[in-house]
Symmetry: none
Subunit: 223 residues, 2 copies
DNA sequence: GGGTCACATGACAGCGACCTGACTGCTCTC
DNA sequence: GAGAGCAGTCAGGTCGCTGTCATGTGACCC
């Protein structure tokens, strides 16, 4: 699968750098911009698959940047970043349009999960986990297989999302841990094993197949 | 695919005529209305797949029309037409649950592009609430199931309408809260729980089935 | 085979999210 | 003012998610 192109617009140098590196670490093709005007110029010329835009840009409101891009025919979903104290329910309307927002401060893992969820939603025709027959449904917080559906807890969902993001690739234990738990969280080594076991049980009830393989000494892989 | 039904509300005869013909030329099934009251009457009776509403209607503000339709259970995305440079209008439009904006004057091709984008984005998320066996009855402020009918209070209706707008999707608590209460309203976290409980009791009396599921740590889902 | 290690699995306690019934206050109508 | 109905809060109970532990199992190396 070709990596998704993500357009980023964030004026704070530190945050911009962190976000860019975090997204690139997840194999995304990131193009970072600093001002709203730059974002409109760059992304209307070559539309990315998803936009991550800070609401509080110095030269323009992030929502106006979005609006301007929409008038240029850019239909990619947008993930807004907003300060918690500036958050109000007025942003809720964006959900109906398929967009999303994240309040600062946020865990990078949360950003990654949201980004993947938005990308998945905007490309509903793309099977999520390759040939595994599994279908991650972020809207339902569940996994589908055939007509069956299994509800997942938040932690189970994050782990399976990380695996499904790169089907066929072996994900190291530390990669999975950092994807499922916030940075700095201390989780017992065995905790991941337990969750893998729970996921396997739920997936097994769906179609009786083995979806998550163990790669001894390395990690796990979704096939 | 059956052509999408588009509800148009525009008082200016020239613009109405141009828009109607342009959309029909794109194979859309257009129903044009002139006043806000007519729009509410017509489109709450037979909800289209998308609404195009002028903000500056003579008898009502387009945002109020949108708001009224939302409380009638109409969940279709809305494209507002508005005068240029009206930032406050934009924000207020999103308050009303609108999904996109177009500032006059605009190119017809822009309109078409964004209509298609909105339809594309909303398509997977808008099966009718009938899939759950429940039917929202805005006129009676009630919910029907089979031949049974349960009266709902206004707040209960708004919550159920929000859930029914996206059956199968988990709605976060904050989404439901912002859908059921006005912006800025401070409601105790537990209040939503209480209303969910009341709704469950009423729905349970209709057919004895469990309609609203809890997704722990996330929100609620109508199935 | 025997030892070691990594992983699998079932059980469990803590905790927080959620559920529920009861209650108060408010508004509207008569 | 009385009554009815709705909205919102509270307290206490229940339930499920989470993370950990103990123990079992299988892979690998010698």
């Amino acid at each position: 699968m070709i990596s998704a192109r993500i357009g980023l617009c964030e004026d704070d140098p530190d945050l911009r750098s962190v976000l860019t590196r975090a997204l690139r670490a997840e194999e995304f093709d990131v193009r970072a911009t600093i001002t709203g005007h730059e974002a409109v110029e760059v992304f209307s010329a070559s539309a990315p698959d998803l936009l991550v835009i800070d609401i509080g840009l110095p030269d323009a409101d992030g929502r106006d940047v979005c609006q301007a891009l929409r008038t240029h025919g850019v239909t990619a979903p947008v993930l807004f970043l907003t300060a918690r104290d500036a958050l109000s329910d007025r942003l809720a309307g964006f959900h109906a349009g398929g967009d999303d927002y994240l309040t600062k401060p946020f865990a990078l893992t949360e950003l990654i999960v949201r980004v993947r969820a938005l990308l998945r939603r905007s490309a509903p025709a793309t099977p999520t986990a390759g040939a595994s027959g599994l279908w991650l449904d972020p809207a339902a917080h569940a996994v589908r297989c055939g007509g069956q559906l299994a509800a997942l807890t938040p932690t189970e969902f994050r782990i399976l999302a990380a695996l499904a993001a790169r089907p066929g690739d072996v994900l190291r234990r530390r990669e999975l841990t950092s994807a499922a738990w916030p940075d700095g969280a201390i989780v017992h080594a065995n905790t991941l094993d337990t969750y893998i076991g729970r996921l396997r049980r739920k997936l097994d009830l769906l179609d009786g197949a083995q979806h998550i393989d163990t790669v001894r000494g390395v990690g796990y892989v979704l096939r």
